[in-house]
């Protein structure tokens, strides 16, 4: 037992003495949370609107005021005729043109011209602006139309302000644990192979299992520190209401961390150089997590083959479960499926990794 403790101590020395890596390990999650939470946002702000209206009627003035009052829009000017819209957009002065009919007071006809070079942005802009117009007309026509007129009333549940940070935090958690556990473990095991110390260890009476468990424990501890950092930041800085059970959130995360450690071990048995381990983890793990886990792009919108592929990506299940627990505040009974899939994957990976590791002796 003493050699095992000495081994864990040695691994901590390796990490603690490599100041740069250490800094990356502890600061990266913080930076990612802050960048994704604040800087990168899928919300669209500062949309420039130009108004095209042949005559300034009372209704037009009221609508323009409503738009200006909205935090997403700023009205940058008025154009006398629709022919100038093209130039305004090309010169980057306007994103949207709101074209009022000359007889707007009579026929209430209005046209939205949107720069759709980025379709996602254009769609969002259209929804925002239609929303404002719709609200205005509903208000105006109250009492004129029969009360049972058709309309849709929209309520955004769980994330009423549509904050994108709600969406990103689970994604970042899915990404960071894979990066830290899988990449760092595989790199640190492969480093020993590369430097030649692994050979000396294997020629000694230490059990191979002890060697790899000693490697995993420090990264496990660091990941738990990161988990705490992320949750604290999410709660206090991004103000995400942690409505679900904290216990289950941590349990789920620990399962995922163990899974990532097993992945790292598996990678280390396949590759022989640190560079290969690094690229293997980056390309083989980080890209799928970014692209296929539903972190950035909804899985439902993917082509069927990619949807099928996304099933084998652990982060997909982890991120989905974290969303349910953390943001929707669902009880643990709603994530049993994800929990069991992750547990199954973890066991599978551990068995394969250990088998592979033994074969190499």
């Amino acid at each position: 037992m003493i050699p095992f403790v000495a081994f864990i101590q040695k691994e901590f020395f390796h990490i603690l003495r490599d100041k740069r890596t250490m800094l990356i390990l502890l600061v990266m999650p913080v930076v990612m949370i802050l960048i994704f939470g604040f800087a990168i946002s899928t919300e669209i702000r500062n949309i420039n609107v130009v108004i095209v209206s042949p005559n300034q009627s009372e209704s037009v003035r009221q609508i323009v005021e409503k738009i200006e009052a909205n935090e997403y829009f700023s009205v940058v000017g008025t154009l006398p005729s629709p022919h100038q819209i093209d130039r305004a957009m090309r010169s980057d002065r306007a994103d949207i043109a709101l074209v009022f009919d000359a007889n707007f007071e009579q026929n209430a006809s209005v046209q939205l011209v949107i720069d759709a070079s980025n379709p996602m942005v254009a769609t969002a802009e259209m929804f925002y602006l239609s929303g404002i117009m719709h609200a205005y007309f509903t208000n105006k026509l109250q009492g004129i139309l029969p009360p049972q007129s058709i309309g849709t009333s929209v309520r955004m549940l769980y994330n009423p302000q549509m904050k994108s940070s709600y969406n990103f935090v689970p994604g970042i958690m899915g990404l960071i644990f894979i990066l830290i556990c899988a990449m760092m473990t595989s790199v640190s095991i492969v480093r020993e192979k590369e430097v030649g110390t692994m050979e000396v260890l294997l020629a000694s009476p230490v059990k191979p299992l002890h060697i790899i468990f000693a490697k995993m424990i420090p990264y496990f501890v660091i990941s738990c520190v990161n988990l705490a950092t992320i949750l604290l930041l999410a709660y206090f800085v991004l103000e995400i209401p942690m409505v679900g059970s904290l216990f289950w959130l941590c349990t789920l995360s620990i399962i995922y961390i163990v899974l990532a450690l097993a992945l790292g071990l598996l990678i280390s048995t396949v590759v022989t150089s640190q560079v290969a381990a690094m690229f293997g983890s980056l390309l083989g793990l980080m890209l799928p997590v970014l692209l296929l886990s539903g972190m950035m792009f909804p899985i439902e919108n993917m082509p069927i083959p990619l949807q099928v592929l996304s099933n084998v990506i652990p982060a997909r299940w982890y991120i989905a479960a974290v969303r349910k627990l953390m943001i929707e505040g669902l009880a643990v009974s709603y994530i049993t499926k994800e929990l069991f899939i992750l547990l199954g994957m973890t066991l599978f990976l551990i068995i394969i990794a250990l088998k592979k590791f033994k074969n190499r002796l």
Binding site: R17, V195, G196, T197, E199, L202, A203, P205
Partner: protein
């Protein structure tokens, strides 16, 4: 003088697919002997050595190291040997004392023994001032001497040295061999591979591997007489010139 046998190799063979790296070799090494294991690159000496250290399993044949069977008792074999790899075998980012403590701990030494023995060792090597120096800050020669000291720290019956003096200057190599002699006198068997023919002259007996076979095995003097040459270098050249495998 007949020495007690500590390594006994009998028709040992290792194949990788269709390639036979080690082809049915047999030899014995006695206690306290300095046994040189020579061969060109790719002749199979590292493979043979790895089998004897329990790092690799032979395809066929038997071998006992320190009285234990390498196939079935690798655990006991590992307890009784020391190993210094071709690549550097201490941890760069641990200091001298931490390396000693780690490796001694691995071999099951008691903490108190480790502490007292470390003091003796560092005093002998004139290393006391470097006790808390990180290994990466030491010159290569010192590192190699320290690595050897660590490999024999737990008093193994046999120590396997895989090209221990690669890249080390002649003066340090000389000191290194003095340490090897000292260890051999204390009863530790030395099994050493090298590319330096002057070092081959220092060995009690030398085996030269060519294409997976042992082409010659005797004391340096007998080998030189047998091939009617003056140096081990010429013996080696003579044998290796017939080799089919290149690097």
């Amino acid at each position: 003088m007949k020495r007690e046998t500590v390594i006994k190799v009998d028709n040992l063979t290792k194949r990788f697919g269709s390639f036979t790296a080690v082809d049915s070799i047999s030899f014995e090494v006695g206690r306290g002997e300095i046994f040189g294991f020579l061969g060109a690159n790719g002749a199979g000496k590292t493979t043979a050595m790895r089998i004897l250290c329990g790092l690799s399993i032979p395809t066929s044949g038997n071998a006992t190291v320190a009285g234990f069977d390498i196939a079935t008792q690798s655990e006991q074999v590992k307890r009784n040997i020391g190993y210094m790899s071709q690549k550097f075998s201490l941890y760069d980012d641990l200091n001298v004392w931490e390396n000693i403590r780690l490796f001694a701990g691995i071999y099951g030494m008691e903490a108190r023994d480790i502490a007292t023995k470390t003091d003796v060792l560092l005093q002998k090597l004139n290393f006391e001032s470097e006790r808390n120096t990180l290994i990466k800050a030491l010159p290569l020669g010192w590192k190699q001497k320290l690595a050897f000291s660590v490999a024999i720290f737990h008093n193994p019956k046999i120590v396997f040295l895989d090209e221990p003096t690669g890249g080390v200057d002649p003066a340090t190599r000389r000191q290194f061999w003095e340490m090897i002699y000292e260890a051999a006198e204390s009863g530790i068997t030395i099994f050493v591979t090298t590319h330096y023919m002057d070092e081959a002259e220092y060995c009690n007996r030398v085996s030269i591997m060519v294409d997976g076979h042992i082409a010659a095995l005797d004391s340096p003097n007998n080998l030189k007489q047998q091939f009617e040459v003056d140096t081990m270098n010429e013996v080696f050249q003579h044998l290796v010139s017939n080799a089919k495998r290149g690097e």
